[in-house]
Each structure stands twice: as C-alpha cells, then as structure tokens.
C-alpha cells in the first residue's frame, strides 16, 4: 500500500527533477557500497549494529562514512563517544564530517542541535531537506562503504533515503526475537521490496541472555522466531547477537563493542561483517 505522495514532498522541498513523474534526483556520491540499516520497530539495536559495522569496516582499512538519518533520536554520536560539537564547514561551503580514526567519517543531526536535550520537531519535507544535505553537501570524499542508520518505521526517512541514494547495495534489517518486533520486520521487508531495495539479511539482536551470576542462558525475549520469520520471508538470517550488559554498557560508554573484548560478541559480529563484505565484493564484479 504505497500511498506516499512522492510529489508533494519533493515539491515542498523545491527540488523536484522530473516534476510530472515526481521522481527525485539521485544524489551523486562517491561510495562503492551503500548499506542501509533499518528496523520496523525502535529499540532493537539498529544504531548499535550500524555503528559497530561502520567501526569494524573502518578498522579493517576501508574508508567508511556513517550517516545517522534518525532525526528524532540521533544516537550515533553517543554510541561513538563523540561530543555534540557543531560540524565545521570547509572553504567550498561543504560540511566537514566528524572523524573517528583511522577511517570513519560521521554525520548526525545531533551535531546540529544546540544542546543534547533539544528535540527536533520537524515535519517530513524539512527532514527530507536535511537528509539530502547530509548526502550531497558533506565532504565525504571517496568511500568504500557508506552505512546509513535509518530511524525505525516505514515513513518519510526510509522513503527519502531509498529515493535519494544511487544504487544502494541493500538493507540490513535488525530485529529482536519477540513476536511484536517480528511483526514490524515483516513490514520492513515488504517496504524494502516495494521501494526496490534488496534485503541483504536479518540481524537478530537480544537473542539470549547469559546470566552473569549463574552462567545460565535465558531466552528473555523468546527463541527461534527470527530464524522462522527469515525462512518464511525468504531472506537470510545473517547473524544473532545476545542481550548483553557488555553491549549495553559499550553503548552508554561510547566505546563500540567491536573494539573491546566482549565475551565472544565481537568475534560473532566480525564474522558477520566479513561474510557481508565478501558477498558485496562478489556482487560488484
């Protein structure tokens, strides 16, 4: 059910190209691969996956851009331990992204806010404008990978990104094992298909908890539902991450878990990232 008024949004942003058709200009972007991280439901760890994927790739030597497209709950700077400082503008008038050594460039609406407590009360067209600016007016340079962290849902931002980014490789969809979360995942998968975005795979987060007191495995949010949903919907389940205090703390501390020793989680995640890279590089050829 795509009832989206493509034209209305494009008209109000004043940047329509093929007016009558309501198509949007693709943004020119020197990025070899573009991965969109999305989820149907919030709080499933989408930003955590995006941040750790970006850091993992950057630490392997790839040049990586990370675009935090969540206008209302931009958490990428917090997860990376970056201060909320305004971004610089270079002599050409382009925004200079925040830099995380050795190879990661980051933009986020959080950098545009007066203070960390200010809400962004923008309607669709304004958000669209901001996302376009983050794509085309940022000094990204050449990127091997652009990772886009979308807000949850199937609203303005996912639509805009899908319309603006030239030939994205596809979407990673993050979920938890709960039925309620999987309900939204199905929507995300259908949404991706509707806008012509390949689903690279599902990432299941919080898929089990190891009690630090007794060492037993507890399936707090249930078990096996993501695998079943993936099979039903014909998409690969490319990784499962546990519910872990170390992951939660790594986010609060602003230190990505792929840079820490986190009880096997790092290794699991690195394997997933490596498999993904192999798949995408193969596709390229």
């Amino acid at each position: 059910m795509i009832m989206a008024a493509k034209t209305s949004s494009c008209e109000s942003s004043g940047k329509c190209s093929g007016g009558a058709k309501g198509q949007l200009d693709k943004v020119p972007l020197d990025a070899k691969h573009k991965i969109i991280v999305m989820s149907g439901k919030g709080g499933v760890g989408k930003s955590t996956v995006a941040v750790n994927l970006a850091v993992s790739l950057a630490d392997k030597g790839y040049s990586v851009g990370l675009l935090d497209a969540d206008m209302h709950g931009p958490s990428v700077p917090k997860l990376l331990g970056l201060p909320n400082l305004p971004l610089r503008v270079n002599e050409k008038g382009d925004i200079v992204p925040a830099f995380v050594p050795p190879n990661l460039k980051v933009t986020s609406v959080a950098f545009l806010l007066r203070d960390r407590d200010s809400p962004v009360v923008w309607r669709g067209p304004l958000k669209m404008g901001a996302i376009r600016q983050f794509l085309e007016e940022v000094e990204w340079g050449h990127l091997d990978y652009l990772i886009v962290d979308l807000p949850p849902g199937t609203g303005d931002e996912p639509l805009s990104i899908a319309q603006l980014i030239p030939s994205p490789d596809g979407a990673l969809i993050v979920t938890t094992p709960q039925d309620v979360a999987l309900l939204s995942v199905r929507k995300s998968i259908n949404f991706a298909r509707m806008v012509g975005l390949e689903v690279l795979g599902l990432v299941e987060n919080m898929s089990g908890f190891k009690c630090p007191e007794c060492g037993k495995e507890i399936a707090i949010f249930g078990n096996g539902a993501a695998k079943q949903a993936a099979a039903e919907l014909g998409v690969p389940l490319i990784g499962s991450l546990p519910l872990s205090m170390a992951i939660s703390k790594s986010g609060d501390d602003g230190r990505p878990f792929v840079r820490q020793d986190t009880d096997g989680v790092k290794e699991k995640f690195e394997k997933m990232a490596k498999d993904l890279v192999i798949r995408l590089e193969k596709k390229q050829r």
Copy 2:
C-alpha cells in the same frame, strides 16, 4: 479503505484554519481525561504501558478509549490479542472501534491494513489525516479516559496529536535506564513543554532483571539513571517496571499482564495507575 482524510487535503492545499501559524482545529471529543503515552526512543515498552494502563482502568469500571497512533508499527492489537479485522462503519458513517470487554474501545491503523505484513508508507499529511479521522470519526461515545499510544520520537504524529486533542491532561513518558534512552527522554520532555503538554511523569521500564534460574537481580541496562534524569528535569518518576519474561510473553500472547499473575509486576503497575487516577481526578475538581 476508510482513508477519506479531511485534514490531508486541507494540509496539502495549505488552507487549514490558522494555516500560517500551523495551528489546527481542535477535535471535539467527549473524554473526561486524555493521557498521552510517549517515548523519545522506540522499543522501551511504550505500547505495553499504554495497553496495560487502558486495560487496568477499564477493568476498574471506567469507560476507556485506546488510540494506537503509531502508523508504522501499530502493535496495540497484537498486545491485546485482537484479530486484524477491518473495523465496521455504523449507519452515521462513523468507524466502530474494536471492543475489549468490559469497557475498552480500541482503534489502530493495524485494522486498516490488508494483512499483518503490509507496511504503511505514508508521509506526514496523510498520517495527520488518519489521526484526525481516528479522533473525530470514531464512535467513541462518552469516555472517562482516552489513552493515546504515540509512535516514538518528536515528529509528525506527536505534533499532530498535541495540536488536535482538546486540553489533554498530559503525557506519560516511558524510558529504560540506559543512557541512550534517557538522552531521548530529555528530548521528549522538552518537546512536551514546547507544545504545552504537561509531563505527568516518567515510567521506567526494564529497570532490572530477576534471573529465573538463580533468582539474582541483574541490572542489564544499568541502574538509577531514570531517577537521576527525573530529578534533574523536574518531573516525577511515577513507576519502575522490571525487564521480565512474563511481560514479554504477555505481549507476544496478547494477554495484558495486568490480567495475569506476573510476579509482583501487576501490583506495581496497578499502584501506579491508581496514583495517577487520584492525581487526575483531583486536578479536575
């Protein structure tokens, strides 16, 4: 498809009343109290709080309406175990809400979808129209309480609701103890203040986990941060709920936990609901 959307045409034509200021007509609504449940971040249990509050009040004999305003991830029907059947229209052309005995009326965009896997790909004005329709073209009758379950964030829907609902009592803001979630809570509180919505209080969810194997309390998402944020921001912390397999399962099963024996959670929640009712009834006088 019931989506006639009076407002959307008004919005897109720019001929809304008070257009320039972005003010909207208030919707006439026969509801004594209106409570808006919101969160800055998804996945914190906002819908769980909204559903259990609505059921708890209805079971006490109040006549209650529950409006699921989450267009992209409508989970209220699932949490209540309601089937995704289309809503009936009465002889006057008004939508007849779903009914949960003894006293609860429910509307949700989930009831409008062809199947549970369809995403809603609507931009702001269309969503606004749907929300207005859910407020004014639904056979709510007289309500003691209208509970509105907002989608996470500070975008179109919260803005619309705040603009459309006549004299709401205020907002409950749901969070988890994580720093990352509290970052969004601050935004929500400031957002509520910006639109003139009283913050009734914070509800902290997932505030501790009791291991079912060894019985030890584990602070998976940290500890004490919500209390500190509430004090800093000058809003009351009105309740804390644990991370619990019983709560998670109650959602997946569609059986609200206030109707089950859930290891003390029910009692905790009922106390919070009772305190809230006393406060709101006092305010009324």
